[in-house]
C-alpha cells in the first residue's frame, strides 16, 4: 500500500514538473529568428507591391506575419534609432517596401548604395501606404 502511494506521488511529481517545464518554455518562447527561417514567399519588389495595391485585404491575409523574401532596387537607405532601414521601390509604383533591419545587419548596410539591387528577408507587418517589414536581414 505504502509502495503504491509512493509510486503515485512520484508519478504526480513528474507530471507536474513536465507540465511546469512546458508552461515556462511556452511563456518564454523566443521570437521568430528571421535569419534561420526559410522564407514562406519569394517576390520581386514589383510583384509584392502590386499584390497589395490590387487587394490589400486579401494580400494581408496571405502575407501578414509571414517571412517574405523580396528582391529589388534600393530606393533609400536610412536609420531609425540606430538600426538600418532600407526602402525598396519599383519605378513609379506609388508604394514601396520599407525594411527595418535587425541591429546585426547594420555593418552590412555600408556595402549598399541607392540604385543597387539586393534581396532582403523579413516579417511582413502589413500595408500603411507602403509595405512594412520588420526584423529584416540581407540574403547572401
Amino acid at each position: 500500500m505504502r509502495s503504491k502511494i509512493s509510486k503515485f506521488s512520484i508519478g504526480l511529481f513528474l507530471l507536474v514538473s513536465i507540465a511546469l517545464i512546458f508552461v515556462i518554455k511556452l511563456y518564454n518562447k523566443p521570437h521568430l529568428d528571421t535569419k534561420k527561417t526559410k522564407a514562406d514567399f519569394v517576390f520581386t519588389t514589383q510583384n509584392f507591391i502590386s499584390e497589395y495595391l490590387q487587394d490589400e485585404i486579401s494580400a494581408d491575409k496571405k502575407y501578414a506575419e509571414k517571412v517574405i523574401q523580396v528582391k529589388g532596387e534600393i530606393y533609400n537607405i536610412s536609420t531609425l534609432k540606430g538600426n538600418g532601414v532600407v526602402t525598396l521601390k519599383f519605378h513609379d509604383l506609388e508604394s514601396s517596401i520599407i525594411c527595418y533591419l535587425l541591429p546585426e545587419e547594420n555593418n552590412k548596410i555600408l556595402k549598399f548604395k541607392k540604385g543597387q539591387f539586393t534581396a532582403i528577408k523579413g516579417i511582413c507587418k502589413g500595408y500603411l501606404l507602403d509595405i512594412n517589414m520588420v526584423k529584416c536581414v540581407f540574403v547572401e
Binding site: 501578414a64 531609425l80 520599407i98 507587418k125 500595408y127 500603411l128 501606404l129 512594412n132
Partner: protein, 183 residues
C-alpha cells in the same frame, strides 16, 4: 472596412490637396507609439516605430494610422496573444486617430503644451478623446509627444478571466512623432 477607407481618404486628402503648398503638410512614417499595462502580476509594454502621422499646418488637422501587428513585445507569446486573441489583428489590422490640434494657428516655434481632440479607433470601436500634448514647431520639423489613458472595455477588447489579473483595465498610450515636410 468602410471606416478604414474613410481614414485612408482623410490621409490621401491631407497629402494630395494643395500639392503646390506641400510645405503645409508635415508627415512621418516612423512615429513612435507605445502602450503600457501595469498590474500586480506583471507589467506589459509594447513599442511601435512604424506609425504614420500627417499634420496639415493650415488647419491643425492630424491623422495617425498604426499597424497593430507592428507592436513589438518582449515576449513572443504576449505578442501572439495580443494579435490573435485580444486585438484580433486579422479582423482589425489598423488603429487610427483623426483629430485636430487645438488653436494650432496660435502656436509659435517654442516648446508648447497643447491639446488634441479627435476620434481614436481601435478594434473597430471609436472613442472621442482629448489629450494634452507637447508640441515643438520648427521650420522643417513638428515634434509632437504626450500620453493618455484608455479603458480596455471602451474598445470591446475581451480579456479571458484566466489572465484578467495580468492585464490592466486602463492602458497608458504614449507617442513621440517627429514630422518632416511632405515632398
Amino acid at each position: 472596412m468602410k471606416n478604414m477607407k474613410i481614414i485612408y481618404t482623410i490621409i490621401f486628402v491631407l497629402l494630395a490637396v494643395n500639392q503646390a503648398k506641400a510645405q503645409d503638410k508635415f508627415f512621418t512614417k516612423t512615429g513612435y507609439v507605445s502602450f503600457y499595462s501595469h498590474s500586480l502580476v506583471e507589467d506589459i509594454k509594447a513599442d511601435n516605430n512604424q506609425s504614420l502621422s500627417i499634420i496639415d499646418t493650415k488647419t491643425g488637422k492630424i491623422a495617425i494610422n498604426i499597424l497593430m501587428r507592428s507592436f513589438m513585445f518582449k515576449k513572443a507569446l504576449m505578442q501572439e496573444h495580443f494579435n490573435e486573441n485580444y486585438i484580433e489583428s486579422h479582423k482589425y489590422p489598423k488603429a487610427a486617430f483623426s483629430g485636430i490640434i487645438n488653436n494650432y494657428e496660435d502656436l509659435d516655434d517654442e516648446i508648447t503644451e497643447t491639446e488634441i481632440t479627435g476620434t481614436l479607433k481601435i478594434h473597430g470601436k471609436e472613442k472621442e478623446i482629448t489629450t494634452r500634448a507637447t508640441i515643438y514647431i520648427k521650420e522643417n520639423e513638428i515634434k509632437l509627444s504626450g500620453n493618455f489613458n484608455v479603458e480596455v472595455a471602451d474598445f470591446d477588447i475581451k480579456i479571458p478571466s484566466i489572465v484578467s489579473k495580468n492585464i490592466a483595465k486602463t492602458i497608458k498610450i504614449s507617442f513621440e512623432l517627429s514630422h518632416k515636410p511632405y515632398k
